[in-house]
């Protein structure tokens, strides 16, 4: 056994003296055989991250707290072995690569782990070369780790552990914060590890599409206990259960659960597998498949654009051309999803909308008035900006203070300010934690606090920079629900995301930004189904759209953008067929 857990309990020390200890693991029993590729999933506060720290020997030794039960890692008692010693048996990659890379060059970063093993210099050199080749970073040896892209940093963090050659590798959310292309890079490295089975690989991950393709075994952790354990196919069949728990499900598994007449057929997790199952069933539906999809009604907007960017050009001091004569007009009340590679100009564009950056040539108009000459604080009245990382703004001593901060800066005082804050707290279900310091809340709640603080400022335009990064299904649901209701009230929403499923479900318009220009722009059905165009910008259509493309030759309606659309098309045809 690589890992053997028996009735593992773990509690953190209380946050303040006198408060009760916080038990996060309640009797976890789990055996992981050598060479297995295991994915552990679970909602926020399921205890996943704590389990990772326990396995690496970091909890309780570095976090404090009380552990009972057995934890054996490669035959050693993880609770009694110093982390530095245990690291030869189990290597762990943390979520944020920028906090675990601390050397001056890529090669030295990898070598650092090996110097600690007291290997002779020539062997260190060989292992560095090999580890970098394994993760595809050959040629970047002398670069600074912090000048790498997000995907490269993740792969470097993996290489620093591969070089140690531990029998067990543990990765905490390897896909977090990466764009789709970078995810594929990291997934390729992990697929390689699985193929060679040289090590036991345990991945804690929220990305169900990745887990479905990669894992041999999936364990679902909820409230500190193992609640499901099996092959991806077996676990992802429990769609309803997983929804209840707040665990993401591959889109195809969701679809399988929605197609009523598939009970006896083979399960599927990817679009290709789904097509293999569904194609044979199509002939019976064929006569009814001529009715086209009900087209989404194109909404009517006010003629005055809320956001009007004209030929904006912006070059950073280091010479990077981030916006290259980019133009984008957004009518008031539109919900726009902005997609594209990291580094393509999405965030730079967003920062032009509230004046944090000013175009070096071209112009930006907000609410019909040029933004030139208006201060950021002034534009804050019209443009609410939600940053990717909630911790960049959280500073106040209570959630209420944090939410009131922006309102006060707008000059709103007295009763009205109080009312706005109360309303925002209610809308985001934060009333219960109103007096808690926001910094000690969980990540999902911290995100909600930042949303509430913008909500209270009541801007007509919302700009959100990858707001769902790091959120589990439940918090993503809350966030999207509130955005939908803002949109229904006529607010303009500009939503930067890497999640094409969200774009497909919520946006009225999809814009792809790459190389500082808008390269694709149109209704979701047109942009998100264009697999060829998307692929040149590192993107792929959502699984259900890929599936309808595979079924299109059999005159199945294409494109379908959501599970609901596909299921409706399928069951209307099937329903008619039975009659």
């Amino acid at each position: 056994m690589s890992v053997h857990l028996d009735d593992l309990h773990f509690s953190y020390p209380p946050i303040s003296a006198g408060a009760p200890a916080v038990e996060v693991l309640h009797g976890v029993t789990l055996d992981v055989p050598a060479g297995q590729s295991l994915a552990i999933m679970g909602p926020t506060s399921s205890g996943k991250s704590t389990l990772a720290l326990v396995l690496a020997g970091l909890a309780p030794s570095m976090t404090g707290g009380v552990l009972t039960g057995q934890v054996q890692v490669n035959g050693q008692d993880a609770a009694a072995t110093p982390a530095a010693v245990l690291s030869a048996s189990l290597g762990i990659v943390f979520q944020e690569p920028e906090r675990q890379l601390f050397n001056m060059t890529v090669a030295e970063e990898v070598a650092f782990s090996l110097e600690g093993l007291a290997l002779p210099p020539h062997e260190i050199g060989e292992r560095v070369e090999l580890a970098l080749a394994q993760v595809g970073l050959t040629g970047l040896e002398e670069r600074s780790p912090w000048q790498l892209s997000g995907g490269q940093q993740k792969r470097l963090a993996i290489a620093t552990l591969l070089a140690i050659r531990p029998p067990i590798l543990l990765l905490d959310e390897p896909m977090a914060g990466l764009d789709p292309a970078a995810r594929r890079e990291v997934a390729a490295v992990l697929a390689d590890l699985r193929r060679t089975a040289a090590a036991t690989v345990i991945v804690l991950e929220k990305d169900a599409e990745f887990v479905a393709r990669w894992a041999e075994r999936v364990v679902i952790l909820a409230a500190g206990q193992v609640v499901l354990d099996g092959t991806p196919t077996a676990v992802f069949t429990e769609v309803e259960r997983l929804h209840e728990l707040g665990v993401a499900v591959p889109q195809m598994a969701e679809l399988a659960a929605r197609l009523p007449n598939l009970v006896a057929s083979a399960p599927f997790l990817t679009a290709r597998q789904a097509a293999a199952v569904l194609v044979p069933q199509l002939p019976t539906l064929a006569p009814n498949l001529h009715s086209p999809l009900p087209t989404r009604q194109p909404p009517v907007y006010a003629p005055q654009p809320a956001i009007d960017v004209r030929e904006a050009t912006f070059r950073y001091e280091n010479g990077t051309l981030a916006l290259d004569r980019l133009s984008l007009a957004v009518p008031a009340g539109q919900f726009v999803a902005i997609l594209g590679r990291n580094g393509g100009g999405k965030s730079t564009l967003a920062r032009h909308l509230n004046g944090l950056l000013r175009p070096q040539s071209g112009a930006v108009a907000i609410g019909g008035k040029p933004s030139a000459g208006r201060r950021v604080g002034e534009l804050a009245r019209e443009v609410g900006y939600v940053f990717q990382n909630p911790d960049r703004q959280i500073f106040a001593t209570s959630v209420r203070e944090e939410v009131a901060y922006g309102v006060r800066n707008l000059g709103v005082i007295g009763q009205e300010a109080g009312q706005r804050v109360d309303e925002a707290l209610t809308v985001f279900d934060l009333t219960a934690v109103a007096e808690t310091p926001p910094a000690v809340l969980g990540y999902g709640l911290r995100r909600l606090v930042t949303l509430a603080s913008v909500w209270a400022m009541q801007p007509p335009i919302w700009v959100l920079d990858e707001p769902t990064t790091g959120l589990d299904v439940r918090y993503t649901g809350i966030l999207m629900d509130r955005l939908r209701s803002l949109h229904e009230r006529g607010n303009t929403i500009l939503f930067i995301t890497h999640d094409l499923r969200l774009a497909a479900e919520f946006a009225e318009r999809v814009v792809v930004v790459d190389g500082g220009q808008t390269v694709l722009d149109g209704p979701p059905a047109a942009v998100l189904s264009d697999a060829v165009a998307l692929s040149s910008f590192g993107l792929r259509p959502p699984p259900v759209t890929r599936l309808s493309a595979l079924l299109a030759p059999y005159s199945f309606p294409h494109p379908t953008l959501t599970v609901e659309e596909f299921a409706a098309a399928w069951s209307s045809a099937a329903g008619n067929g039975e009659r």
Binding site: P82, S87, R99, M104, A111, P121, F387
Partner: protein, 263 residues
Amino acid sequence: MLFDLYVHTDGWLQRLDPRTKIALVLCGAALFVVMNHLLVLLALLVLIHVMLLSSRVPLRQIAWVWRQLLRVVIIIVLIWPFFARLAGPEIFSIGPFTVTWTSVWAGLATATRVVGMSLLFFVILFTTRQNELVRGLVRLGLPFEWGLTLSMALRFIPTFSQTAAQIRDAQAARGWQVDRGDIVGRLRGMTPVLVALIIDVLRTGDTLGMALAVRGVGSGRPRTVWRDISLRRADWVVLALIALIFALLIYLRFARGFGAELI
């Protein structure tokens, strides 16, 4: 980038062992302290420029140091003559202040010392990779943990400054303005940025501690060094030259009074 000052060109200083450069800088600094003659100090200053330029450090880089020091230099040169009160040919006097030529030369000498010693410091920063510098200090007896802490501090300066910029942006987007009122008001105005930054630094420190542990720091095992620095022939030649010139100048200074007087 502002914080990594290393000049990625191939010059003779870049190729030297960091310990050789540390010796060079210490001896140079000592000469700036013991020498008093203005012309000797200026000669040393010129020598530093010659060294930097001959080692392919761009003029632009040196000019950057001068720009940083310009204000201090001007203040020293202007204020020094009023307070030095050195005896000598009088230029003019206002109230209690009598300005002499000697005081003016003394001001220039002090400014030369400040610029010269700063530039010496930058000789190391411009021509040495940070990790090599730390390695050099460790080889000179600094404990490994201290060296590691020092190199990580250097490493995370740009990260934290980037974080601070992001925090400023995030607070500005909520209408934050700092440019109000007196110093106390401004400091108070910085709270939203400082608190968020401190929280980030603490979180980073936590993760970093764990990241170090799982990469084997603190196992108590001895470590090896992958690419260790070593003193090559060029280093020994330069060290010998430094020793010779330094010994000669010190001998001349204290036995013969060379450069002992200001003028």
